[in-house]
């Protein structure tokens, strides 16, 4: 199959098991697509040798029978994941040349399950950004275009979203701190789920904001998301925040039956100035779920408006501390020093050269909000807001709501460079619908539901109860089937 790279995980799995396709052929198709897709800038480091070796091993395993779902499935891995012996830089110059001597728990699980790594995927530097423009490797271009305008794939998992949407791989790993899986998934017309905080191990994933970071799958279908999440999830004693809970069969949860379920529509998400096409798709999504037998109810999440400011205090605060280790002492970039320079100059020059503007901005914000005299006014207040936001959701779920439906993003994909000249807050507003879940630790999935007038994909977000990713994905599955979203970007690259 020359176009095997266009397959979903589920379809490829079935073909591999049936012997209709070999993992090596599937991998070759992806490697070819990956090379042909260089203009997209999605892959920043290709690992064809590893991929082919893994594919050959997968074929042997498939032949032996009883191979796991992911055996032989070619994936792209976000550069935030540490992969043993393979450059892992979080798209930052400060980690120039860094090759970890260890494998992140998630990638180790994937490779144990027989998955194939095609390479490392572009992203916003240290996962800070919503446009994939803060990468040291340069931006990713969205496979979707309108009027030949180059669009952002969103961020921070922009490389992952573009690679999946452009069929350079079957699926990819992403990470989500404030919307970094769901927003690019929506911009690129794919599915992305941020699991419940603690569902997936953070060990070996370069930290941005530890209390918010969570890895998840970015896929071509809801079923693929269920399969990939099942392989990524699970308790990890090396991550103290990882939950010691069994991983259910998420794919088996996709019954397509949501009759009698209650879907909440939060009134506070109807933000001022919301674009009509977003409101329209949102209404349409609610209608689809109602048609499938669910009950649509209005819910109130009163503290929503404080989510974005709270997020932009907590995330930078943690980041300022998490990124302190990049000091030029042990690994990565170290600035050339002038005669007489001491350790302070080494720190200052190294970090000034190694970190991009957005990272520096967040480190400075974080340092400021944690400093003596400001801690209570900013950080502590943000923590209180966070608790209130969590309580909002708890109350909605306690009232019998099974899932909450919101838009994934306030706009469709914007043009590359459009945001770079704007106030950084403009960019931060992209996260308005997504950050609340990170603050509350809840699972959320972004599902493509339709196209806007310019032919760009629009996504909706479903929010689930903690640890109920299976049920959440089932709701997403219903939405996916009802929407019948099959559009693909026209190949221009």
């Amino acid at each position: 199959m020359s176009n095997a790279n266009e397959l979903t995980i589920a379809a490829a799995r079935d073909k591999l098991r049936a012997g209709d396709l070999s993992a090596v052929d599937l991998t070759m198709a992806c490697l070819t697509a990956m090379d042909a897709g260089d203009t997209l800038g999605a892959f920043v480091h290709k690992t064809p040798e590893i991929a082919l070796e893994q594919a050959r091993a997968a074929d042997a395993r498939l032949q032996a029978g009883g191979a796991p779902d992911l055996c032989g499935i070619p994936l792209g891995i976000k550069d935030l994941f540490c992969t043993k012996g393979v450059p892992s830089q979080a798209a930052s110059n400060i980690l120039a040349g860094f090759k970890p001597e260890y494998e992140s728990t998630v990638t180790a699980k994937l490779f144990d399950a027989g998955a194939v790594m095609l390479g490392k995927l572009n992203m916003d530097e240290f996962a800070m950004g919503s446009s994939n423009e803060s990468s040291c490797y340069g931006p990713v271009v969205n496979p979707w275009r309108s009027d030949d305008r180059e669009l952002s794939p969103g961020g921070s998992s922009g490389g992952s979203a573009a690679a999946v949407a452009g069929d350079l791989c079957l699926a990819a790993t992403g990470t989500d701190t404030g919307g970094s899986i769901r927003q690019p998934a929506a911009f690129c017309g794919i599915v992305g789920i941020k699991p419940t905080y603690g569902r997936v191990s953070r060990w070996g994933i370069i930290a941005y904001a530890s209390s918010l970071d969570q890895a998840g799958p970015m896929t071509k279908s809801v079923r693929d998301a269920a399969i990939l999440l099942g392989a990524m999830a699970g308790h990890d004693p090396k991550d103290s925040t990882s939950a010691d809970l069994p991983v259910p069969d998420f794919e088996a949860a996709l019954t397509g039956d949501i009759r009698g379920k209650k879907i909440g529509i939060p009134r506070e998400y109807r933000v001022a100035g919301m674009r009509p096409e977003i409101q329209k798709i949102w209404d349409k999504g609610a209608e689809m779920l109602r048609d499938a037998g669910a009950e649509i109810v209005e819910v109130s999440l009163p503290h929503t408006k404080y989510a974005l400011p709270a997020y932009y205090v907590i995330a930078p605060a943690e980041a300022s501390s998490n990124l302190a280790r990049y000091d030029g002492v042990r690994y990565g970039h170290r600035a050339k020093l002038a005669a007489g320079d001491g350790i302070t100059e080494m720190y200052e020059k190294t970090r000034a050269e190694g970190f991009g503007a957005e990272v520096q901005r967040r480190v400075m914000i974080g340092t400021y909000v944690l400093s003596a005299g400001f801690y209570d006014a900013y950080y502590n207040r943000a923590r209180k807001v966070r608790a209130l936001i969590k309580r909002d959701f708890e109350q909605a779920f306690a009232a019998g709501v099974d899932a909450i439906l919101t838009p994934a993003t306030p706009t469709p994909a914007f043009g590359l460079g459009e945001m770079s000249s704007a106030d950084p807050v403009e960019m931060y507003l992209n996260d308005v619908f997504t950050v609340t879940l990170n603050l509350a630790g809840l699972p959320g999935v972004s599902v493509p539901v339709g196209l806007d007038a310019d032919g760009l994909p629009l996504g909706l977000q479903l929010i689930g109860r903690p640890w109920e990713e299976g049920e959440l994905l089932n709701h997403a599955y219903v939405l996916e089937r009802a929407a019948g979203f099959v559009a693909k970007p026209q190949k221009w690259w």
């Binding site: 979080a90 070996g204 103290s240 925040t241 501390s321 000091d327 042990r330 350790i343 801690y375």
Partner: protein, 503 residues
Amino acid sequence: MLDLTYETPKPKVIAGAKHDWELVIGMEIHAQVSSNAKLFSGASTAVGAEPNSNVSFVDCAMPGMLPVINEYCVEQAVRTGLGLKAQIHLRSAFDRKNYFYPDLPQGYQISQLYHPIVGEGEVLVEMAPGVARLVRIERIHLEQDAGKSIHDMDPAMSFVDFNRTGVALMEIVSRPDIRGPEEAAAYVVKLRQILRYLGTCDGDMQHGNLRADVNVSVCRVGQYEKYQETQDFSHLGTRCEIKNMNSMRFIQAAIDYEARRQIAIVEDGGQVVQETRLYDPDKGETRSMRSKEEAHDYRYFPCPDLLPLEIEQAWVDDIAARMPELPDAKKARFMGDFGLTDYDANVLTADLESAAFFEAVAQGRDGKTAANWVINELFGRLNKEGHGIGDSPVSAAQLGGMLDLLSKGEITGKMAKELFEILWTEGGDPAEVAAARGMKAVTDTGAIEAALDALIAGNPAQVEKAKVNAKLAGWFTGQVLKATGGKADPAVVNAMVAAKLGL
């Protein structure tokens, strides 16, 4: 157990040029937790390893690495808290203390600022028999140690050794209840003793496994009582913190210097600046470590990589049930059960090995005699030859066996000393050695009597002198002992001399 009641010692008073001044001292003791692995990584804590050989990916802060709490270190902290009669917090939490330094790879130290694992406790610090200061403990928290920067290996470069990075420390914070340099040193001694009894810290100050930050301020006489009534620190002077002291002698010298420095400033109309200072033992002075502008803002915040630490009361109870006997209790027991003096009980309970040795010797024997032999003969000899109790050439069983011979009158005190010498140098079973060497006290009073009678008969002048001055009767005793080749028991001879001379 004896009920020990104590008087409070007088605070140290230093006479300034104008007034008398009192000292107020609080201490932060950093005690390395005795454990095989580090606080948040599985790396070894063994000392003496090649630089950077006991370092995990977590310790050197590789990207994406996460801390996982070492349960044994938590147990040790709980044990320490129980040993200091402190409140154990079933829920505590870790915070990050942020600052840049090459020996701090994460760029932050994981510590417990807001919710320490151990709350208020106390340490009884004895200054003299019946005189003791009760020092209140404010808190104990767990934290990571830093690595070691090495600046003297190369003229241009610095090096760093991460072996120590991430090793668990307990920071034991006292209230400002210590009132003089001697009390400060005694407090450290006592705390160290308790930790060693508990097995939670080896107390090795030379290797920095126990080090102290000392907060010193001075106040006019009477001010401290006002602080005690109100707990309002404004009644006290401004304090300075002297960092990283690892010798009792330096602690005392530094406090004394620092107090006098502060008194001089205040009496000159100046103000003490609250700051961190270092003690220079060569010059015998403290000096400012960093100016106010360089003062760190540590930007503490809850460590998001670790969930709050929750422990169960049942677990704490289990640790409590397995607590060893602590110094105060042991001392009281030694005084009660063995009739020891305060001084001897202190000496014998100074460390566990000495106490165990003594107890083995004293069990079923006369406690005071056992104490005398252990302290005067054994410890004296051990000190002289640079041995510890652990490698004493004479075992408790040997010493006990020798004391049995002595108490049964089978050997004399003089013989006992000789026998001890033989046991020390050659070893052997005391009874067998004594028999082989012909060490046997003359218990035959007939022989003693005969010798004495002969002496009295042959020395009438001496008899007259002794009758006038009883002290001179000792001459007869000495002569009898000589005549019996030192095998007679001097007490028996003394009694007979007194009887015969009618003294």
